[in-house]
Amino acid sequence: MALHGLRLYQCVRGILGFGHYSRPGSLSDIFTGWPQSQVAGKKMYFNLPEVKEEDLEEQFVRGAGPGGQATNKTSNCVVLKHTPTGIVVKCHQSRSVEQNRKMAREILRVRLDVVLRGEEGEVLRKKAEAMQRKQEKRRRANENLERKRLFKQNLLEGIATTPMTRTETTTTTTATPTEDDKNSKD
């Protein structure tokens, strides 16, 4: 159970760690509905759990001050809390607060998928598939390397055996004529 939890945690960290988040796949506005697919990280997800706005608590790290025209601050970090599960997501990936709000919701949905559906969920399944593909690729690469190594070994062994027999016969044939010459002179 503890190992399972640790693996989930590692997966979530791996997916949601320091990295680049691209723009949402659809430009559908936050007020008019959820996009059909989400892009979080470099992956596309189609079946993430829905979140209801009423389950969310949003906080904006903008500091005190009158706001609006009277303030010009560049901080627009969005902190999103999903009250039913207690999951908190922070996002300051972009310079636009609306974009950060959208991205925070997408990140939340990815995390919800991992927490609620675990290994049956889209996120972890896709990660497992990606890992399998990677392992398969590595296995094939290793096989290729092994085949090449054997070929090279055979080649070297081949070179070692054949030239050696030719040099032995040359020495024996040269030895005998000198003895005969010596005999004929007498």
Binding site: R23, L27, E58, R62, G67
Partner: protein
């Protein structure tokens, strides 16, 4: 305050320690001077992280607001990114080239004069657009992104519902500044066309430039016009619109004195000063609205939190006519920030 630099100095990189000593000397003369920051190191290798740290400290010591974010935005920009998030882990330890170092130094010096980051890097993001920024044209605020969201949501609803047939929606923006609202609407809604006006020639030029860069100039007319002085011209040139949107100057004149240096020194005062009770421009827009709006047309305004009450009072007192108050919306800091009014049918 004088003690801090010395204590910090013990834990900092040599480059920073030198700067802090220089700054302490400057301050000890009792004058308000810009700290004599060292010129860019020419031979030593400086990494991205080192440049960030150095300038964060410089900004902190100089009392520049948002020291961490300022250095991050400037350094990211010089590296060709919008935020540091686009950099990999290795990116932070990468050594900067000499031209990059010089550019960072140049831009950070500008920030030391309290120039807003948006003017320093000459660009900023608004929703999903990147716009050029140029002083003294008003910098779009993040709250205003929500105003655009409200307009788009209404347009979507009216398309589905029966409030307004969606053949070709026309809008008018009063006080366009850099063009943020107009261009955002155009970018997100392909069936919309509009006119943007501003009393500032620089704002008109910047809006046109941004429209051109975004390829939206064919659906937007930009004119220099003052909604008070050029009211007649405006009513003659602009046909009936379904959407009248504005982030008008709404600050109370007496509040202008307490603004932070970034705004006070660099932004166009006329884009901020709403006069007595901050209502001068708002009142004018609402006065003209019944004549500018189509039958089911609506006005969308960003205002000071005290204004929704004042506006509703004026409607009750019949000082404003031809409009029904639809709703007040709060911004993300939970302050009443947006007013929506609808043209009363049958008038004008």
């Amino acid at each position: 305050m004088l003690f801090r630099p010395k204590i910090l100095g013990l834990f900092l990189h040599p480059i920073n320690r030198i700067t802090l000593r220089q700054v302490s000397t400057a301050r000890s003369f009792g004058e308000k001077v810009i700290p004599p920051v060292s010129s860019p190191p020419s031979s030593s290798k400086l990494t991205v992280q080192q440049a960030l740290d150095k300038w964060t400290v410089c900004f902190q010591v100089a009392g520049v607001s948002e020291s961490v974010l300022s250095s991050q935005h400037i350094v990211s920009h010089v590296l060709g990114h919008k935020t540091l998030n686009s950099l990999s882990r290795k990116g932070l330890s990468r050594v900067l080239s000499q031209p990059q170092v010089e550019r960072i130094w140049k831009l950070c010096h500008k920030r030391l004069t309290r120039m807003p980051v948006q003017y320093v890097i000459e660009e900023w993001d608004f929703r999903d657009l990147t716009l050029k920024m140029k002083p003294p044209v008003f910098i779009p605020r993040p709250e205003t992104e929500e105003l655009v969201g409200l307009v788009l949501a209404d347009l979507e609803e009216s398309r589905v519902g029966s409030r307004c047939p969606d053949s070709h929606v026309h809008f008018l923006e009063v006080g366009c500044g850099s063009g943020a609202i107009s261009l955002s609407l155009l970018h997100s809604h392909t069936q919309i066309r509009g006119m943007a006006v501003d009393q500032s020639a620089e704002a008109v030029a910047l809006t046109k430039e941004n429209a051109q860069s975004l390829g939206l100039h064919d659906r937007l007319t930009v004119n220099q016009a003052d909604v008070i002085k050029d009211a007649e011209w405006l009513m003659g040139s602009c046909g009936r619109v379904e959407v009248l949107v504005s982030n008008p100057p709404y600050l109370f004149t007496e509040d202008l004195e307490s603004l932070e240096p970034e705004i006070h020194r660099y932004e166009d005062r006329a884009a901020l000063d709403g006069g007595r009770q901050g209502m001068c421009v708002i009142e004018q827009i609402l006065t003209l609205a019944p004549s500018l709006l189509a039958d089911c047309g609506r006005v969308y305004l960003e205002v000071d939190p005290r204004h929704p009450e004042l506006i509703q009072m004026q409607l009750r007192d019949n000082r404003l006519w031809g409009l029904d108050y639809v709703a007040t919306h709060k911004d993300f800091t939970n302050r009443p920030r947006f007013c929506i009014l609808q043209r009363r049918p049958g008038n004008g």
